[in-house]
Symmetry: C2
Subunit: 202 residues, 2 copies
DNA sequence: AACTATAAAGCAAGCGCTTGCTTGATTAAC
DNA sequence: GTTAATCAAGCAAGCGCTTGCTTTATAGTT
């Protein structure tokens, strides 16, 4: 295996620093130190600081899109797609936490053109979810409700993972996905109305 | 009603700009323009740029704490507290979107001491939710599950509202809270097992 | 194996500009 | 007549990025 190219090391440094301190809070000189070169030398590999931001935000966008396509081709039933979509989403957030963080937060710092590129990938990702949810409702497997709120329920929970997840902690991404799916699909309320309990006992 | 003091106008300018472009992405000169003075004149009212950040992040923290205390004193049953807590939380995020955004995002830019102040208020807020959830479980009204994930479910959904809510849009904060509560409490899955449907028809 | 040609990569220095903040004089309010 | 607020001007430091030059790695020729 070839050792990582210098460009990769610079990207890794920027990824870490942007995700930790934000784009505007990170200087070219800090990235250079973390990559082990002088700041001027960065420009043999990149064109601008914003280039780095775009590349990292795009990594995030692509990771989510890739995950959605994989789920869609592997599973057919809408409920399977929602469950596995949630799992895949959480896996991206947890395993590519830095890129995901930059994707969620720092795209505002991009120039208009590049922001549009990221925005359009975000939109395409949402379309997958909208489709899964509407198919689930059509089949009677998902509660009849405003699909927008169903989507927001699932994605809010999955997105927020980047705020608290720490690698090597108590829970793996799989654990997290399972816990959330159980709660989101069945609700945080008690299992079933009292009448149903009676039925079970009868 | 007295017109807003100059300090208030400076705070309002900083609140808007910090929430839109981030702390590091906002300059003292921009705040001054928005407040209608020259940048030097700001320093008759503030001690430093970071003072502004702290004050705004603290507004957010206090708004959430205040809301939780109000819910706790007005409602006794855990499920009521959870439902009304969700509603109150979403109201804060929507009505004080700028402070909430700064509270969620920009506290990283604070000095250690001040970050700890904000962090401890965040912790105190979480204690309310943890208590409500555990009481709900003890009473058999909330599904037996890891309380941490129940809390994260509710708060993730409510927090993420700041990412998409636009004042004057299709939904009021009350609408949003109601939609989410229905979905979170009952689940996004179909209403009930088939056996219960039969019972209903009997 | 030794020498040279070429290009990639790194360095020290510093460019023009912006940053947060300070200063000393001036104005306005009571 | 005192005090607080505002101004124009500017400070030191740091910003993203460029420059001119040197080092290092690779390839081809002998």
């Amino acid at each position: 295996m070839p050792r990582p190219s210098q460009k990769d090391q610079i990207l890794a440094a920027a990824r870490r620093l942007f995700s930790e301190k934000g784009y505007h809070g990170t200087t070219i000189r800090e990235i250079a130190v973390e990559a082990g070169v002088l700041s001027g030398s960065l420009y043999a590999h990149i064109e601008s600081k914003e280039d780095l931001l775009f590349e990292i935000a795009d990594e995030g966008a692509e990771a989510f899109l890739l995950a959605a396509r994989a789920v869609e081709s592997k599973w057919q039933h809408p409920v399977d797609r929602l469950r596995e979509g949630l799992r895949a989403h959480i896996r991206v957030v947890a395993d590519q936490q830095e890129s995901a963080k930059v994707f969620f937060h720092e795209w505002r710092a991009l120039s208009d053109d590049r922001r549009k590129v990221i925005q359009s990938k975000r939109d395409r990702y949402e379309v997958h979810w909208r489709r899964w949810i509407e198919e689930g409702m059509a089949q009677g497997a998902v509660r009849e409700a405003d699909p927008k709120f169903v989507r927001l329920c699932l994605l809010s929970v999955a997105n927020w993972v980047y705020q608290w997840y720490r690698p090597g902690g108590e829970f793996t991404p799989e654990d997290i996905a399972e816990h959330f799916w159980t709660l989101l699909f069945n609700g945080i309320g008690v299992d079933r109305p009292a009448a149903c309990e009676l039925l079970g006992e009868a």
